[in-house]
Symmetry: C2
Subunit: 201 residues, 2 copies
C-alpha cells in the first residue's frame, strides 16, 4: 500500500531534513496531518518566509534577514578581534561557550578545490576588505579541526599576511576530525582561551 | 547569542515535528538555510498543499485528497472483511505485513471519555452505516493492544452486535501496551493470521 499521492509527496519532502529517513518522514507526515495541522501551517509559512528573506549579514556573512546582524550592530563587541568560522552553527557554539567578545566572519564552508569551492565562494575577498578597513589586531581562525579546515586556515593566514595581524587557532582541546558544532561548551571555552599563535609558514 | 528573529522563528516552527527538540530544530533550520533552500521550498509548498487538500476518505476515513482512497476504489479488495484501525499508520503497517485482502476503517484515535473523545469523534456512526450497507461478514478489531484500544474494540463489538457480524481481534503476538505502528511485519503478519473471535460479552 502507498498513501495518496499528496501524502507520499509530503513524506518525500520531509526527507530533505538532516537525519530524516523514510520511517521518520512517515511519522512526521502522519503527525502533522493527524494532530498538528495548525503547527504544520506555521512551519510551512515560516519556512517559505525564511528562505525568501534570510540572507547574509553584509559585514560578517552570518544568516540574517537584516542588512547587518545584531552582533555586527552591537557597539559592545571588540572589533580588533575577529573570529573566522565555517558556519553560523559554529558561531553559535562559540557564543554559547562564552568568553569571546570580538566579532565574527562566517565562511559558509571551507576551501575544497575538488568540489570547485574556491576563495570567492567562501567570501575571502570580502574578508580581506573587512580586515583592510577595520582595526583588526587578531584573527582567530576557528575553522573545523579537519584537513579542509586546517587548509582553509592556512590559506587565509597567507592571504592576509600583509596586514600585520596576529593569527591564532583554537587550542587542541577540540577533538581532531570532529565538528565544532558538536563540541561541549566547557571544552570549547577552554580551547578558545588556550588559543595559539598561528603561522602561515 | 540568538539568531535573527526569523531564523529563531524557523527553529521554533520545526519543533512541531515529533521527536524534534531545540538542538535538532537548530540543525534543521541551519541545514535548510545553508544547504537546501530548494528542498526547503518544496517542503513548505507540499506541506501547505497537503494540509489544505488532504482529508478523510468518505468510506474508510483514511487520509486522502480524493473522495475515495485507492484501496476503497479497488475492486480486488474483499468487502466482506473489514479491519478497524486507530490510525493510517496502523493501516500501513498491516498492509506492509501482507496477507490481509479486505478493507479498512480508520478511527483516527480511540475512545477517551476523560479527553471528551466519544463515539462520534472516532467515526462510529459512519462505521455503523457502512456495516449496515455493505456485506461485511467479519470485522477485525485491530485497535492498539492498550487499555484504550481494548475498550474501543469492546464498544464497537457491542454497538454492532445486531448486525450478525463476526468480530475478531489480533492474536497476542503483538506486545501488550505497545503500538501497532512499531511492530515488525513478521510478528504483525502472524498475529493477523492467528486472529481470534472477539466477544462483546
Ligand atoms: Zn554580522
Ligand atoms: Zn477509503
Amino acid at each position: 500500500m502507498r498513501f495518496s499521492p499528496l501524502v507520499e509527496q509530503l513524506m518525500d519532502a520531509f526527507r530533505v531534513l538532516p537525519g530524516v529517513g523514510p520511517k521518520t518522514a512517515q511519522r512526521m507526515a502522519m503527525h502533522v496531518l493527524e494532530r498538528e495541522r495548525e503547527g504544520g501551517q506555521r512551519l510551512s509559512a515560516t519556512l517559505a518566509e525564511a528562505i525568501e528573506a534570510v540572507g547574509y549579514c553584509q559585514r560578517c556573512r552570518t544568516l540574517t534577514e537584516a542588512e547587518l546582524c545584531a552582533l555586527c550592530q552591537s557597539p559592545r563587541r571588540d572589533e580588533t578581534l575577529l573570529c573566522v568560522v565555517e558556519s553560523p552553527a559554529d558561531q553559535l557554539a562559540i557564543e554559547e561557550a562564552g568568553g569571546f567578545r570580538g566579532r565574527y566572519f562566517v565562511l559558509h564552508g571551507h576551501l575544497s578545490p575538488i568540489d570547485g569551492i574556491g576563495p570567492e565562494a567562501i567570501g575571502l575577498e570580502q574578508l580581506e576588505s573587512l580586515v583592510a578597513q577595520a582595526h583588526v589586531h587578531e584573527i582567530v581562525l576557528a575553522t573545523n579541526p579537519t584537513v579542509e579546515g586546517e587548509a582553509t586556515a592556512h590559506y587565509i593566514a597567507t592571504q592576509l599576511a600583509a596586514y600585520g595581524v596576529t593569527f591564532s587557532r583554537l587550542a587542541y582541546g577540540v577533538p581532531m576530525g570532529g565538528e565544532l558544532e558538536y563540541v561541549d561548551g566547557g571544552t570549547l571555552s577552554r580551547a578558545f582561551n588556550g588559543r595559539l599563535p598561528f603561522a602561515s609558514e
